[in-house]
């Protein structure tokens, strides 16, 4: 799936994983959290090999499809996942506030909008105060205000020492990241900060910079 891909993600930072859909973002994220069957190569996460049991208490993972139970309320979902990661139910209120879902706490997940479901799924990933957060398109379909708030949250978590790997297929989110991994067709086009990318390509617009890299790779 991802031939010859080598990259590093710095601890305590927000790294954006960008590329069009089908570029291998989700596959790479699944490999990092240890649920992807890999043909070869090694993935090291926080000093362990990916998927090691020791990592399961230090990891928060949000899949692309909202992985919460539609037939339970938001609070019931979070209470369940909190019990699995051995957190008290006060944590549930904390994460509900972090994703601004307090008003919808007692609503069935199935009755929520797409963006609200995604936030419920994100809240579940935040429960254990994880060292590493792997978030697959967490801001898709959200209004700009919520998007801004979530990116603030991501940076606050990084400032507290967490490492975040966040995927997106919209380039305007790239500017919000400390570092970028640009993927296309399973290959890593670039690993750089947004400003390095601008300097490298001579483009101010990150979308245009991405196009430059694609052309250069041909």
């Amino acid at each position: 799936m991802l031939p010859g891909l080598t990259c590093d993600v710095a601890a305590g930072s927000v790294t954006g994983l960008l590329g069009p859909s089908g570029s291998g973002k989700s596959t790479l994220m699944r490999a990092v959290v240890g649920v992807q069957r890999v043909a070869g190569g090694s993935v090291e996460v926080l000093g362990h090999s990916a998927g090691a049991p020791a990592l399961r208490t230090q990891l928060g993972y949000m899949t692309q499809a909202p992985s919460v139970y539609g037939d339970l309320t938001v609070r019931e979902n979070l209470t369940f996942f909190a019990r699995v990661v051995a957190q008290s139910t006060t944590t549930v209120d904390r994460v509900l506030a972090e994703v601004s879902l307090q008003e919808h706490a007692d609503q069935l997940v199935a009755s929520l909008s797409g963006g609200e479901k995604a936030r419920a799924s994100l809240a579940a990933a935040l429960l254990g105060e994880p060292q590493l957060l792997v978030l697959d398109e967490p801001t898709v379909g959200l209004d700009p205000v919520l998007r801004r708030d979530l990116w603030k949250l991501f940076h606050r978590l990084a400032a507290q020492g967490a490492t975040l790997l966040v995927s997106s297929h919209v380039m305007d989110e790239a500017d919000r990241c400390d570092a970028l991994l640009l993927l296309r067709e399973g290959r890593l086009l670039a690993q750089a900060t947004p400003s390095e990318l601008r300097a490298q390509t001579g483009e101010n617009d990150l979308d245009a910079a991405f196009l430059r890299l694609v052309e250069a790779a041909r």
Binding site: R30, S67, F80, L108
Partner: protein
């Protein structure tokens, strides 16, 4: 393994059922309705009702829980919640045991309700202890649950999962000895039935009805228990942390 995680899973599954009163009502009302139809069809004192009533009561939870578990587990596999759980500190056995506990509790309610109706109002008689019929029904529910969990690995859609019910359950009901005594079956069918768990579940119920709690009864119960353990290990093997 963790008891608190197991109980968390059980509570979650029961919570899902609570939000689905229609499924709950169907699971509780349908077996009562069938028991009533059987009694009305053949008559209160007919040998058919007296012979079939108890096995029906004891085997029904097997069918219900097989269906409910296979669909719930399939949803868990396709919605991504299983993938999330696999990145969390949860042992596969916690998940399986949690499901087992939740559906065993539902089976207790189901079997108790049908027993009260059948023994209290429909005139069904058993020579052995009635609580044992309920106990066996619960064991059969757990067996159905674990088998449903296992086959859910082979279904990609809910349509397929539903089709596993006639494929896995019907042959067992036909061959368990309820319709034709096993001694009267063609040899090859008798051999096949010896490998089917429901054969032993039926025999245990029939012996309870006749108050023949002998060594053969103990053997039946042990086989059902062993099949539950086997189905749990097969089910655990289908829960992969890593998938394609």
């Amino acid at each position: 393994m963790s008891l608190s995680v197991t109980l968390a899973v059980a509570r979650r599954v029961l919570g899902q059922l609570r939000h689905d009163p229609r499924t709950l009502a169907l699971a509780l009302v349908v077996p009562c309705m069938l028991e009533l139809i059987l009694q009305q069809l053949f008559g209160r004192n007919s040998p058919v009702f007296q012979q079939v009533g108890t096995p029906l009561l004891g085997l029904f939870p097997f069918v219900t829980m097989f269906l409910v578990t296979s669909i719930t587990m399939l949803r868990e596999r396709t919605s991504g919640t299983l993938e999330r759980l696999m990145t969390m500190p949860l042992h596969k056995v916690d998940l399986l045991a949690g499901y087992g506990i939740a559906f065993a509790l539902l089976a207790v309610v189901q079997a108790t309700l049908v027993s009260v109706l059948a023994f209290g109002f429909l005139g069904l008689e058993v020579d052995g202890p009635k609580w044992l019929v309920v106990g066996l029904a619960v064991a059969n529910a757990v067996l159905g649950s674990t088998l449903g969990l296992f086959v859910s690995a082979f279904a990609q859609t809910e349509f397929q999962a539903v089709q596993f019910m006639p494929a896995v359950v019907f042959p067992q009901i036909l061959l368990c000895g309820l319709f034709v005594a096993r001694e009267e079956m063609a040899t090859w069918l008798r051999v096949v039935s010896a490998f089917l768990p429901l054969t032993y579940a039926y025999d245990a119920l029939a012996r309870t009805a006749d108050d023949q709690l002998d060594a053969r009864f103990a053997f039946d119960v042990m086989v059902v228990g062993a099949c539950i353990v086997l189905a749990i290990s097969l089910g655990a093997a289908t829960l992969r942390r890593r998938t394609d």
